[in-house]
Symmetry: C2
Subunit: 314 residues, 2 copies
């Protein structure tokens, strides 16, 4: 039996000295020309060609970042874009990243009432339970919606408990328009996101979910938008590891992420997606590596880790 | 160019005199023995056999209800359960229901930040834009999460506007534990669900989304849990058609749905899933039709429509 997901994640972060995760959000028209100019991959209007190109790129990205990071986050939307073939590719990539000993977070943000969430928990998180699919691996963790309350999250927690997996419940998202809902305030000054956090901390504190490290396998997606709120959420969610999206392209900066960590430097997994995987569009890297796109990604990943480590409490 | 989704839905409801929708939520172990005892379909542990059985059942259900209802709601979770093959089956069913001239609501509850929601809007709602998929049809409408605010919904609205499709944003869900979040109250007495409704009504009121009937192609998922709140939500969302889940199995009763309608009898599409598609487990129908499961479903669907029409304002 493997360890609790929180223990596995903390150990992996420590082993690579990198509390980060690279987000795999591939879109065809941003792929390197080296890939999209290949025969059979050079037609964005053909789903098979486009998906093959995307998959080739993702495999390369995973190989580049594997020595440096403990985890990757694979965003389901970017694969569902290619319908069922894309979904198959999503599971293929989970398998490949898993084979490379990376922890894999499936970013699928599923949410529904309990009986339906149970189905999602099985397909999105659990190890496949069909005899003809025994070679398939599920991800180590997934993101889930919180708006349904406990009913929608519990089936995922049941899988997490039984299969030593992780769940990250959406608390605070990076996008601007989310504020109207997530930052609306109750009479006591609490925001809707904080109310959700209060629920998440109740669920996360179930002793059967807590690892040796003291963290729960139920973490929280927390965008580091506003220092005061991030500090409050950090103290409200003592048992939850934060999956922090939006570093780089979504506007997150190194100073913003500081309050996502506890004073001992644990408690957060900072995610950068576009700023790493499309680093070959960033003049800073192009000037140095010209068309060697893989070297741009490698350097951007190194820089990302250094930046995070430079501000991480210790 | 077809009409605005709201116009199409209202016309279809009128034509069949049935403001209802049958929810397709198939699980293998509830399927009729006639199907699961068939060779090649009689193995729940084999994903292919199980999915083939599920698909066979769903096709039969669609054929049974087609003469009676204007729309079906196909729940993605029940197909994703079978991984990518299940996703292919989901699209096949959308196609079949569409060929039968039913309006099809894809119940997938996707939600993410804007750039990612754009991808979901394409795969989950839009007509496929790949040259090798031009025979595929998207659903007429989908359900979407609201917790991200406008960013997460706008890409779906853009598709809805361009392709005359519909969107139902989650406002109030049927499950009990949702109350902790959705029913939390602000100082002015407004609940979180009502705050979300306030946003949805802002988005829905965009003139480019409004049909000739006066309704917007942005509707709302509203569980009819509590008469007072349903009345408030109905008056807060004058331009939105309510997709009302939970009739029957989730505890909804005829009297609860009355306030989902406007006084002219429009404005709501009542959904029953389990109480119709598994009617052959209900003694009321078994006593009458014994093992003729299709007749049980047919009668349950008729009864459902009669019950709804008997309380619908007119």
């Amino acid at each position: 039996m493997p360890d609790n997901f929180a223990d596995r994640l903390l150990a992996a972060i420590k082993a690579k000295n990198a509390p980060v995760c690279v987000g795999i959000d591939p879109v065809y028209n941003k792929l390197p020309a080296e890939i999209t100019e290949q025969k059979d991959l050079n037609d964005e209007t053909d789903s098979e060609a486009a998906l093959d190109a995307v998959l080739e790129f993702c495999r390369r990205v995973i190989r580049i970042v594997t020595p440096m990071v403990p985890a990757v986050k694979i965003n389901s939307a970017f694969f569902e874009r290619y319908y069922w073939e894309g979904v198959e590719a999503y599971y293929e990539l989970i398998q490949e990243a898993s084979d490379a000993k990376l922890l894999v977070i499936g970013d699928c943000k599923r949410g529904d009432i309990g009986s339906t969430a149970e189905l999602y928990a099985h397909s999105a998180l659990a190890e496949p339970d069909f005899t003809d699919m025994d070679s398939l691996t599920g991800p180590d963790a997934v993101t889930v919606a919180s708006y349904f309350g406990l009913d929608g999250v519990k089936p995922f927690l049941d899988v997490a408990r039984e299969q030593q997996k992780g769940v990250f419940a959406l608390v605070r998202t990076t996008n601007e328009s989310a504020d109207v809902i997530q930052n609306a305030r109750f009479e006591n000054g609490q925001s809707v996101a904080e109310l959700v956090a209060q629920q998440v901390t109740l669920w996360a504190s179930d002793p059967s979910l807590i690892g040796k490290c003291g963290y729960s396998c139920l973490g929280a997606v927390v965008a580091a938008k506003d220092r005061e709120q991030t500090l409050r959420l950090r103290s409200m969610l003592p048992k939850s590891i934060f999956l922090v999206p939006g570093y780089g392209a979504q506007g997150g900066k190194a100073e913003d992420i500081v309050p996502c960590f506890k004073l001992d430097g644990t408690g957060a997994l900072i995610t950068a997606s576009r700023s790493v995987i499309y680093a070959y569009e960033d003049m800073k890297y192009v000037e140095r590596f010209t068309s060697e796109w893989d070297k741009c990604i490698e350097q951007a990943c190194k820089d990302f880790i250094s930046e995070v480590n430079s501000v991480r409490p210790s």
